[in-house]
């Protein structure tokens, strides 16, 4: 006997350790079917420990009534049996809990209480010889048993299972239907949530009961609850709207209060006659009650949409996931719906077989979208076998309409999209007798407007959606042509490429002048731009207004000096990367000057020196700067080019004054070209003076202009 007890005690302890261990690794636990079955015996076994524990408690506390020689032995025996069954019950319970589907918070309490309970049973074994401690622990265990049992029963039977029959009158139908009254749908739920606790048949405070209409009609000790048509004189509204500190205010201040909307709703309802039989559905859409109710109802009723729409059998997850490949997605429309949708992608991977394979789920498939796939009329026969389809999208498929007849087999087909296909009116005639068809989409097909009108008249039970029809009289303005070159600096041999997305559009371009609709050349092939130029382009097409002109300022990449040096300092805020900024062929944004692609001067001239080791022939120098009248970035007042064989002995070659803007012209990066006699000098010096006075239209003539230098090109 002692040996058995020892074994049992160790087994029980082992299970305790195992339980703790399992709880620690709960998240990575995979319960195999064997253990699932084991777990499911939990509700069976759990009754043993309940009974046994209570008997032990009885034996311990009722010692004096039935003390016999054997009592101690029996108690001890029962104790081991209890500990063993309890720990097994707990273990089973743990496995059962892994199946999921239980209320989380209740489950948590039940689980831990159960584990502690089984542990206490083991403690009881060890304490058996210390009667005082034993009595304390057994009392504790019984209390815990009740707690565990209570939460366990909540998991299986739901809350308030035992007492519910006693409160039958509280069980009310909460689903909203067309026949729900305003009272039942909105007001009663508010009462239930916020008033019932004190105003029910068992606890009628102020002799008022709110649980039934009859009781409400009787009123309380202060009389009737409301006066139909007069909210201001109604007791209910008065009590609801009294200041919260007032003793008469309802609900009392430590209880859940009605929201402003709820009070407004109740007042309005009383105002409108307090008709307890008025149906919610009889209210006008615009009715204030209806509108207010919309925000109250969801607080007390389950979302109507949560109810599944479809009742057919679920397809197995394996079957559905097996049908999913990169170019065909098959998925349930919602987690509580058996209905499936299938979408096809990637035109080049389409195969008729992909539709045929869907037959495996034909009892669930309600939406099929094969738009853009090369589906032929013949393929529709495979579609016709998917009998549950309600919505079918065949936009931009290769069907001509001959195969549509076979779709008659689709008894549930409600919506059919044929936009962008070659179907014609004759083909559509064949679908007019489809039983459940409600809408057909035929934009961009061979069905003429007249045909659509005729079909709409003849078959008004179907909505024929012809979509956008261009207005012949509407003349739109073309968008300007696009410059394909992204870089404004052209390398040697690089040409300027223009493009317009609309076919048969004529592009005309002009170099350093406005585009003329007749005289300017038509763009045919990439243009060679030999030097700094401003290219203007415009698009023309018959039936369209010609585009506004777009321009691009193009620079020609030049010789890169071997040395570059700034003699004067730029404004410290716009120091760029020093002289390198001027020759690095990097362009900044036209309106962002903190970019190191710029180097800015305002209070002094820019003087920069450059040297070439191999003295190339240079014919022109182009300086590039930002023109932003709004930000006072102006072309320089003048630019000088100095050159010489020695840095210390350079001569002025040329001085030019760039053209200054005379109005609020748009912002751009532009340039100024300085022609020089072709020569091979080693040293060059460029002097550029910021504008000393802004032009008059700028209205701040005393202000100096900024010179935002971008680049210098030696061509």
């Amino acid at each position: 006997m002692e040996l058995t007890k020892k074994i049992v005690s160790n087994v029980v302890l082992f299970i305790q350790v195992l339980l703790v261990f399992l709880l620690m690794f709960e998240n990575s636990l995979q319960v195999p079917p064997v253990l699932q079955a084991f777990g499911r015996a939990h509700p069976l076994l759990l009754h043993l420990p309940i009974g046994l524990l209570l008997i032990i408690a009885l034996l311990v506390f009722g010692r004096k009534w039935f003390q016999t020689e054997q009592t101690d032995n029996i108690t001890s025996f029962l104790l081991y049996l209890t500990a063993l069954t309890t720990s097994f019950t707990a273990l089973m319970g743990f496995f059962l809990s892994q199946e999921g589907g239980y209320l989380e918070s209740e489950l948590l309490i039940h689980k831990w209480a159960g584990v502690i309970l089984s542990f206490l049973c083991w403690v009881l074994i060890t304490l058996y010889n210390k009667p005082a401690s034993f009595r304390v622990v057994i009392s504790l265990t019984v209390v815990l048993l009740i707690v565990t049992g209570h939460f366990g029963s909540m998991l299986t039977h739901g809350e308030n299972f035992v007492l519910a029959p006693l409160q039958q009158e509280k069980m009310k139908e909460r689903a909203i239907t067309d026949s729900s009254t305003v009272f039942a749908a909105v007001i009663d739920p508010i009462f239930e949530a916020k008033c019932y606790t004190c105003h029910n048949p068992h606890k009628a405070k102020g002799k008022l009961v709110l649980t039934t209409l009859e009781a409400i009609a009787k009123g309380g000790k202060n009389g009737a609850l409301w006066k139909p048509g007069d909210a201001a004189q109604s007791l209910l509204v008065e009590r609801l709207t009294l200041p919260i500190e007032s003793k008469e205010h309802m609900p009392p201040k430590d209880k859940a209060q009605l929201t402003q909307e709820e009070i407004r709703f109740i007042s309005l309802w009383i105002e409108s006659g307090a008709d307890t039989r008025k149906k919610l559905s009889s209210l006008e859409e615009e009715d204030s009650l209806r509108r207010l109710s919309a925000s109250i109802i969801p607080l007390y009723h389950q979302e109507a949409t949560v109810q599944p729409k479809y009742s057919f059998e679920f397809a197995s997850d394996d079957k559905v996931s097996g049908l999913n490949i990169p170019n065909r997605a098959v998925f349930r429309i919602a987690s509580n719906e058996p209905a499936l949708q299938a979408d096809f992608y990637l035109r080049e991977h389409y195969d008729k077989k992909l539709i045929e394979e869907l037959e495996a789920v034909k009892d669930q498939l309600v939406v099929l979208n094969v738009s853009n796939m090369p589906v032929t009329d013949d393929d529709l026969r495979a579609v016709a076998r998917l009998s549950k389809i309600e919505k079918l999208l065949l936009n931009k498929t290769d069907i001509t309409g001959d195969g549509l007849t076979s779709l008659k087999a689709l008894n549930n087909l409600r919506s059919l999209s044929l936009s962008g296909t070659k179907v014609n009116a004759a083909a559509l005639e064949r679908i007019t007798n489809f039983k459940s068809l409600q809408e057909v989409f035929i934009w961009n097909t061979r069905v003429s407007d007249q045909d659509v009108d005729r079909l709409a008249k003849q078959f008004p039970h179907i909505s024929w959606e012809k979509g956008y029809v261009p207005d012949e009289n509407e003349v739109l303005t073309l968008n300007p042509p696009l410059f394909v070159n992204e870089e404004p600096i052209l390398d040697a041999g690089r040409k300027l490429v223009l493009k317009h997305g609309l076919p048969e559009t004529e592009i005309r371009y002009a170099v350093n002048c406005e585009v003329d609709s007749i005289k300017s050349p038509v763009y045919k092939e990439p243009i060679d731009i030999p030097r700094y130029s401003i290219i203007q382009v415009k698009a023309f097409k018959s039936g369209w207004k010609s585009s506004r002109s777009a321009e691009m300022v193009v620079f020609k990449k030049g010789f890169k000096p071997d040395e570059a040096r700034l003699v004067t300092n730029p404004d410290p805020k716009y120091a760029g990367e020093g002289a390198e900024t001027l020759v690095n062929n990097k362009k900044g944004l036209k309106d962002f000057y903190r970019d190191p692609a710029y180097i800015g001067f305002r209070n002094n001239e820019m003087i920069a020196e450059f040297a070439f080791d191999d003295t190339p022939i240079i014919n022109s120098i182009t300086i590039s700067y930002a023109r932003n009248v709004y930000a006072m970035c102006m072309p320089p007042e003048y630019v000088e080019v100095w050159s010489g064989t020695y840095a210390k002995n350079m001569k002025l070659l040329k001085r030019v004054r760039p053209e200054q803007p005379d109005s609020w012209v748009s912002t751009r990066i532009e340039g100024c070209i300085i022609e020089i006699p072709g020569s091979r000098f080693k040293h060059y010096k460029i002097v550029a003076k910021p504008l000393s006075k802004l032009p008059k239209f700028r209205k701040e003539p005393k202000q100096k202009g900024w010179l935002m230098m971008d680049e210098i090109f030696f061509n």
Binding site: F14, L18, F21, F25, S28, L29, Q30, V31, V34, L35, A294, P298, E303, T305, V306, Q307, P308, K309, N324, P326, A329, R332, I333, A334, S335, E337, A339, D343, Y345, L346, E348, H349, S371, N372, K391, L393, K396, S415, S417, S419, G420, E439, F441, W443, N444, E465, K466, G467, Y468, P470, L476, L478, N479, L482, E486, H500, G501, L502, W544, S547
Partner: protein, 483 residues
């Protein structure tokens, strides 16, 4: 960085330790049970798994036409003739009720009311008021649902924009699109579930940053993929010269093998994400050219969206691309059009902005409709807050500006489960406060999630010890606007 690396190794070590422990202890404790894979429940994280809505959704996809900078509701959809009558008069203090203003106008000594410079007319069966700046939207008002009583908590662009996109004013939470990608998964495995398209606009602009389409604490596969505004919407997708498809495939297989080795070593989930992103990019090589192929569109699509739709990077081109992406199963297409911040020169800039977006926005709704897709695609148009009914800066005869106004603004929604041809909510006749049916940003989010079949209270992600939602701890579904 070094620290993170170290931590990650610690993490792995602990994991390894526990893993070993489970084997060691398992052989003692569970050996008798003879069930080798007791602790091998697969974490159900397959990166691109198709998720499922909680209940049957009304909308399957969203296209959000974000008007960045906050277009004025008073020059677009919220018609307030009283402002024209009281033009130039001071905003009564009883209307303003001491509410906070931005630093840009709080120093103004007067708040002269200013009426819309642009005329309003009623359109459609629904009789919605629309200003002359939006003639194309005016034609489709019976498809739209205007919410005139949006209101937000932020008063400046960045927090307001971030709030609208992520449900929080600080930018560390997942964006709406990321939540949907997380909750619903990708419909088309060949494209990202969440795409972002930007366009610049011609008015005073405000920045948009990638934090607006961030995955936040969600797995990085849910991050928005920004499409480029150039001819190639997705950069680096083309195989370089001399590389063929097989070569690319072999390369990816090898890289994936190396990455898997690294994953086993470091256990960083980002490595798995990277592997799946490479695979997606490979599939995108086929999917994206189909998207940009204009040859399968009829010529008059250009008339519908306007010729700008042929210019990559414009709002119109983005609308057209958005339609194609959405049609190809992209869950969430997020557009941003900048330039709506008219603090001054409103009458000069707003017509340009409206011209940019009006035709293409309306075309998008119609285009979805004529393909039978509008009933399953939710289109949203609107900014981050409204603009004040009083003038910012000098009020001259023909020009004025309006400051930020978070207390009310108008957005519209169309398609996917939205009641068409209705106006929800009402502002006072000054266009300053809401008098009926306010819709908070949280409510808006709750409603959008509801339309997509998600209960906003159930779409949660546990991070740093608490559960997060797009709607945080608030939000009510706006039932009256649901079809």
């Amino acid at each position: 960085m070094a620290n993170e690396f170290f931590e990650s190794r610690l993490n792995v070590n602990r994991r390894h330790f526990l893993g070993k422990l489970s084997l060691g202890l398992g052989s003692v404790a569970l050996g008798s049970l003879l069930i080798p894979d007791l602790f091998n429940r697969e974490e159900a994280v397959e990166a691109l798994r198709v998720g499922l809505p909680h209940f049957a959704p009304k909308a399957k996809r969203v296209i959000y036409l974000f008007q960045n900078g906050a277009p004025s509701q008073l020059e677009s959809f919220d018609y307030k003739p009283l402002l024209n009558k009281m033009h130039g008069e001071d905003l009564p203090a009883s209307v303003r009720m001491g509410q906070r203003l931005t630093g840009m106008t709080s120093n103004q000594s007067k708040f002269p009311l200013v009426g819309s410079y642009f005329k309003f007319l009623q359109y459609g069966k629904s009789g919605a008021w629309v200003s002359e700046l939006f003639p194309h939207m005016a034609k489709i008002v019976d498809e739209l649902c205007f919410i005139k009583t949006m209101h937000t908590e932020a008063i400046n662009h960045d927090p307001a924009l971030t709030f609208m996109q992520t449900g929080a004013q600080q930018g560390n939470r997942p964006s709406m699109g990321a939540w949907l990608s997380y909750g619903l998964g990708s419909e088309n495995q060949n494209l990202p579930a969440f795409c972002v398209l930007l366009s610049r606009g011609r008015g005073n602009g405000q920045g948009v940053y990638s934090k607006l389409w961030t995955n936040g604490f969600l797995d990085s596969v849910h991050q928005g993929v920004q499409f480029s505004s150039s001819e190639d919407p997705v950069l680096y997708l083309k195989d370089p010269d001399g590389m063929d498809k097989q070569g690319r495939r072999r390369m990816l297989d090898q890289i994936s093998e190396l990455n898997s080795l690294n994953y086993e070593r470091f256990g960083d989930p980002e490595i798995k994400t990277r592997i799946s992103q490479y695979e997606m990019a490979y599939r995108m090589q086929t999917a994206v050219p189909e998207l940009t192929d204009m040859s399968r569109e009829p010529d008059h699509i250009v008339k519908m969206y306007g010729p700008e739709c042929l210019v990559p990077g414009t709002y119109a081109a983005n609308c057209l691309l958005a339609r194609k992406l959405s049609e190809s199963g992209v869950r969430f297409v997020q557009l941003y059009h900048q330039g709506w911040d008219q603090h001054g020169n409103l009458t000069g800039e707003m017509p340009l902005q409206a011209e940019d977006v009006d035709r293409a926005s309306a075309a998008l709704v119609l285009d979805l409709k004529q393909r039978g897709l509008l009933d399953e695609t939710l289109v949203i148009w609107g900014g981050e807050f409204g603009r004040t009914n009083y003038c910012q800066g000098s009020l001259d005869e023909k020009n004025y500006g309006r400051d930020h106004h978070p207390r009310c603004y108008t957005i519209w929604m169309a398609g996917g489960g939205i009641k068409p041809g209705m106006t929800y909510g009402e502002t006072d006749e000054f266009g300053y406060n809401i008098v009926k049916d306010p819709v908070h940003v949280n409510d808006f989010h709750a409603t959008v999630l509801h339309l997509l079949g998600l209960q906003h209270e159930k779409l949660v992600y546990k991070h740093l010890g608490r559960r997060y939602r797009l709607t945080d701890v608030a939000g009510k579904v706006v039932h009256p606007i649901l079809a």
